[in-house]
Symmetry: D2
Subunit: 212 residues, 4 copies
């Protein structure tokens, strides 16, 4: 299934129940996401056992992207959140996320992970600025920072990335839903985000002047 991300996205409507009607972009193949649940497609570069060992020894470098739609003045109009059903049946939300590989620039990693999660037709406009809006530090244990990742210590460079194209999800495990900044800031949304990313989402919206 393919759906257009740009121009008049149907927005997920949700009430207090968090019940979401998602009709916009299905995405998938969220393989290398910060999660133990899916295999790492690039782990061939490293070997699963090796990666598992390193994860206990070194902080890993990640990039993350908050996909957005912008209007003609560059103002963020919608935020794209990735969804998936967990094994227990609940829905969690997340953003584009993945490791920086050896020899890869941060921009290359960012582009690769956006393409992986949103498909090759998302047409992301990577910002000219090289500054992440946040450096998010994920620790296995809670309380050291707002962010947790049970698998590892990861440090993530997080960017807001406008996308202008069409989503072609590569698996049906994930969907993209577009919310207005107001909707995305609702506690019902941010509280169900993986690993504390609701905080990251708020920081993203702060960086584009869309907190309220």
């Amino acid at each position: 299934m393919t759906s257009t991300c740009r121009r008049q996205p149907e927005r997920g409507r949700f009430g207090r129940s968090g019940n979401l009607h998602l009709r916009t972009c299905d995405s998938g193949s969220y393989d290398e996401h910060m999660s133990v649940r899916t295999p790492d497609p690039n782990s061939g570069w490293l070997g699963d056992d090796e990666l598992a060992a390193i994860r206990l020894r070194l902080p890993l470098l990640y990039v993350e992207a908050v996909p957005v739609h912008v209007d003609g003045l560059g103002r963020v109009t919608d935020v794209g959140l990735l969804l998936r059903a967990t094994k227990t049946g609940s829905i969690t939300r997340t953003i584009v996320s993945g490791r920086v590989m050896y020899g890869e620039t941060v921009r290359e990693a960012l582009f690769r992970h956006i393409e992986k999660d949103l498909g090759p037709m998302a047409f992301p406009l990577l910002p000219a600025s090289a500054h992440p809006f946040s450096v998010a530090e994920y620790f296995p244990e809670a309380g050291r920072s707002p962010f947790t990742d049970e698998r590892q210590h990861a440090v993530s460079l997080a960017f807001v990335v406008p996308v202008t194209g069409t989503c072609e999800p590569r698996q049906d495990a994930l969907e993209v839903t577009w919310l207005t900044p107001e909707e995305a800031l609702a506690d019902a949304v941010t509280s169900e985000m993986e690993g504390g990313r609701g905080v990251l989402l708020r920081a993203a919206l702060a960086s584009v002047g869309r907190l309220n």
Copy 2:
């Protein structure tokens, strides 16, 4: 009255009622604050009538500062909010705020207004970085941005500024109360801030990694 701002500030305790017990720093002379209520002490540089006329013709340039305490690693531990009683008896909160004068650098204006609101012994540590954490746009009418100022169109460069000294409020009209980031982010606090500055406060905390 003088009270120490640093080291173990007694924090304002507040409940849902917004009822605040303020025991820390009294401040005052909040003259040139973005408000119609108090005369502009620098208006002599311009003339009250002239300033009033210009306010309907040009955006005015402001600086704003969110005073904070930091620990030895630079992490923000407390946020200083200014309080005052309005004529109607309610309490509003705000931050350090004031105009940039002709011939004055942004840093000079920032220092001057911090001294004005927090007293000469606040010992602010202006950041080496020249980047405001936000550019806040205040319009007389609501809805154009998160920020309103009934008097004027003002554009404010907003900074987080650690203070390390002692508050010597110069009038009893204002107090400074210190809140943890968690306390400061409570809706009861941010919603009572003047001109939408609760949003600015959240953006300030996002910029120092203390949203949650």
Copy 3:
């Protein structure tokens, strides 16, 4: 005359003489630029005499834009500099620059001035981020900051703005020439920029990771 700004811009070649062969984008109507030489097209909003008087009393708020081309990963590949011949026959370079009007947002002002200087088909992609890469302070006298403006005290919010379209200059007074970051950083280029904007250009390139 119309010329394509995007894709394979012919770059101005220049030697020590500063002799430039400009074949790319002609632009014009650089009216409201920070210069005494051209009338302010918006001064009707304020009146020339009034504006002249205010310029001696208040800092004026400006926006500035460094137009760039970017590649598919968002990396800056070219920088667009505006040129014009002065009355004395020398060529000066500058960037997009103009005042923020009463009631106008920073984004609106930025868009308006880009359209004014680069034409309506430049198709600028204003950044989602609300943060200027620099806040440039212009004073009439030299030495207070790297920036001077003989007419006034101006404070400018400066942004890097990718453009993707076609330049349609509206006067022949100005041209746009595209230089690689390396070319743009050459002393021969930056030293001939108006009001110290060579420093601002370097800061722009620092912000996009293209200093070298």
Copy 4:
């Protein structure tokens, strides 16, 4: 030997020869610097062989600090550069630099490496802002970015850090010399910095408004 870093630092004077008279702060123990020349004091956490293997497989996360002196308004007045003699007798300059360890926050790593290179009495004032002024990407091969590190692919979060105390170098291998921004920007200085860090130094000065 101990010398005061603050207040009236004697500045290194240098001519075209790059001949430096260093009288200020000796520092040392630059062990964990991005260099093959010195052993990694924390490699015990990982094992030299393990680290060597990982360096060929994963990007490593670093922090870097440009130590500065600031005046009462937070303006940078001096930049501290670390020096050392190489085996070949030439002098190279660098900045504070080191790895982020597993379980360590970026702030903790930054503080640890500043203490390691500048001594426990340097009294750094880590910025409240969590934003690095640059994310520097070091690759073993030249040309991928302005930065190279023959040992590894490293990604560094770089900060400007005011120091207010006294340097107590722990080895005599390193010295700290303080230069004005103007001196530090001289080609003779930046060109002799390790791994392309002259570019990083310029970006640091851009971020504090001290390019010129």
